[in-house]
Symmetry: C2
Subunit: 412 residues, 2 copies
């Protein structure tokens, strides 16, 4: 059996946890399916010579310590999925990390220690925000706040992790990490359309993310005169349409603007009562910071007209924003050399989606790699990466980890 | 103590069940607050000489049988409320019925028996559809279907009623009812603006109610190119905006069109995944059947464009429709004579909101009465009817019940 067969066999086993009828997986953070796959992954790591540790937010680590006291090259991604999500998003990167680290550790002679990580709750569909575990690890999210976060049913993160028995205090902390590497599916079509196997992620698009609260007033959907209504759902609908219009108006081929509203909660959500409140998210993303700022300003200019039209108040809160963030050039170059040695085609690429690596990149030298997604489909049961591409990614990640473990620099 | 004081004291007690901080009530059907008020109402009825009975869908009856074997004059409304609803909607009519029947029964000499009814789940916010208990009573909704209906948490009507111990088989059935009377708050501003105390309800607006399902496809909100998205929430938002546009375009002062979307469920409702599905209601109402038909046709003509714009499919289901429905002229006249005798100002009026009386009106002579709503506010904690108006309504209902009990005709 080749190491490729071994990887594909493990990946098939992993893909059975929370498997859906249409070939995807449904395993939100700390769900029964996520708990089961985490136990399986713990056993896999322990069986291959890793020491398994958890931190207080449930990040799962597999350590290979061969140089006592030396810092770690940390390699990972996340096993949790969106509801009815794809089986590659995150899970591919965690399993690739385990195989890559195992192979590098097996050859010995590394200057640094090695560790695999499965970040808790990257997806953020059950417990917001997304990139939750890596945010706590890097200090971007307060540990107590994170542990007190609840899902829509009122289940608290800290309680659920305690019930799973998957927290601890003996895991590595940020100060122990010398470098971080992550491989992920592209979730776009650039690699496929250009016939490229490897994406060398050079930067992250700029983004602005809002939580919007639309405040109307309850009234009867039948008897209330139209002119008297203060309809929060109508205000929210205008915001959804406005977000899309921004992308249609401002995008150019060189500087696209991506906009979305994907979450909405309506109160009281009754068939005969005009909504008093609607809460929604609204994201703007672009590789062009000037265009993003223009889109943001235009959105804000249009809000008062929506307030007048629907006779509602609109509160803009929870703004998260970041500019175009480069990954360190030394890391991109390190990965490029490794890809060249393996004869793998590659190109520089941007990531639009957020990844755990974005949090790590703010603190330690970070290498981010992509493999192709068929038709760019992601967050969908039809998500697919071809076996050859998946295995090429594992080969490249192994070579990158070997270079990092040898102390080759990946950033300042 | 006058009978008016007695009514207002009982109404204050009733308004404490599920009371909210802002003066409203929050007591959806079969909630703990609804269960508690139903027990209280049972005790009130029993203490005043009524025999209390339940039917299999939890409609609550208080019987005053003085003419063995004769049919009943049935008088009632509903005690359940919208989430954070007003304390008058329904509850006023049930308590007014109890007082009116008690006074008429107390004077004796009636040709017919008398009964009070508290219809189960008129509001429909927890268990759809609305006017649930009266629909089962009149055969518009199948009993087994109704008992198998579940709320969003999966609680089944039949199970919840059994747990409350409030079902039975000894209650009156439709064939036992000679006439029905109901008094309700207007939930509009016509009476207030014309300085009128009593609305003699002459008809119900025509209505068409749809359940719409918008089908998109999940994808990543960040990385998916805008042109590739099949965004169910965007399609739903266009439908909400289109519904409002119909009212703005087609309403005239003589023939208003009321439109609404008040309920929406989004899947997977995740912060980073384009929605694959959105389910919403959409109602059209007008006193002009031709205008309503035109609005309906226009809505359907616009759906294909929305499907193209958002790249979604839209399924139109669950259509309920009814035309302008008159209440029997004999009943309107009977109530007018009673109001004249009491010196109460009155005018003919339409109801836009649905009421249990609409179901009864399809089968038995039915009298429907309104008292004024301050500022027309309803389905809102600020809902208010002035004490003088409330007491005038009880006086009128008493006079109407007395006439009905004497066998005065209210319809064919």
């Amino acid at each position: 059996m080749t190491s490729g067969d071994s990887f594909l066999r493990d990946f098939a086993t992993l893909s059975a946890f929370g498997a859906t009828e249409r070939g995807g997986v449904h395993r939100e953070a700390a769900s029964e399916a996520d708990e089961a796959q985490r136990r399986w992954f713990e056993q896999l790591l322990a069986g291959r010579g890793f020491t398994v540790r958890y931190d207080r937010i449930g990040n799962q680590f597999g350590l290979r310590e061969t140089v006592p006291g030396a810092p770690y090259v940390l390699v990972g991604s996340h096993l949790d999925s969106q509801p009815r999500g794809g089986r590659y998003d995150g899970a591919y990167g965690v399993l690739a990390a385990a195989h890559a680290v195992h192979r590098v550790a097996g050859t010995g002679g590394t200057a640094l220690n090695l560790a695999v990580v499965n970040w808790f709750n990257e997806e953020g569909s059950r417990f917001t925000p997304s990139m939750f575990g890596s945010a706590v690890f890097t200090g971007a999210l307060d540990l107590d706040t994170a542990r007190d976060t609840t899902d829509p049913a009122g289940v608290r993160v800290g309680d659920r992790l305690a019930a799973m028995g998957q927290t601890g205090t003996e895991a590595p902390v940020l100060a122990d990490v010398a470098a971080y590497a992550e491989i992920h599916i592209e979730q776009g079509r650039v690699l496929e359309e250009t016939g490229t196997t490897i994406g060398l992620v050079a930067d992250t698009w700029a983004a602005r993310k809002y939580d919007l609260r639309v405040l109307g007033d309850q009234s009867h959907t039948g008897s209330t005169p139209m002119a008297d209504r203060q309809d929060a759902l109508l205000g929210a609908a205008h915001l959804v349409v406005a977000a899309r219009a921004l992308a249609d108006e401002l995008s150019t081929p060189d500087a696209p603007l991506h906009t979305s509203v994907s979450r909405m909660a309506v109160e009281p959500n009754s068939p005969v009562t005009v909504a008093r409140e609607a809460v929604l998210n609204l994201d703007l993303r672009s590789p062009d910071e000037d265009l993003l700022a223009r889109a943001d300003a235009t959105l804000h200019e249009r809000i008062p007209a929506i307030e007048r039209t629907a006779r509602v108040g609109i509160e803009v809160a929870g703004a998260q924003r970041w500019g175009v963030r480069p990954f360190p050039e030394a890391g991109v170059e390190l990965a490029r050399r490794a890809a060249d040695e393996l004869g793998l085609s590659h190109r520089r690429i941007s990531t639009v989606a957020g990844h755990d690596s974005v949090h790590l990149n703010a603190h330690v030298p970070t290498v981010m790699l992509f493999v192709p997604s068929v038709d760019g489909i992601s967050h969908n049961e039809a998500e697919l990466t071809r076996d050859d591409d998946a295995l090429a990614g594992v080969e490249l990640l192994t070579a990158v980890v070997r270079r990092l473990a040898a102390g080759e620099p990946a950033g300042g």
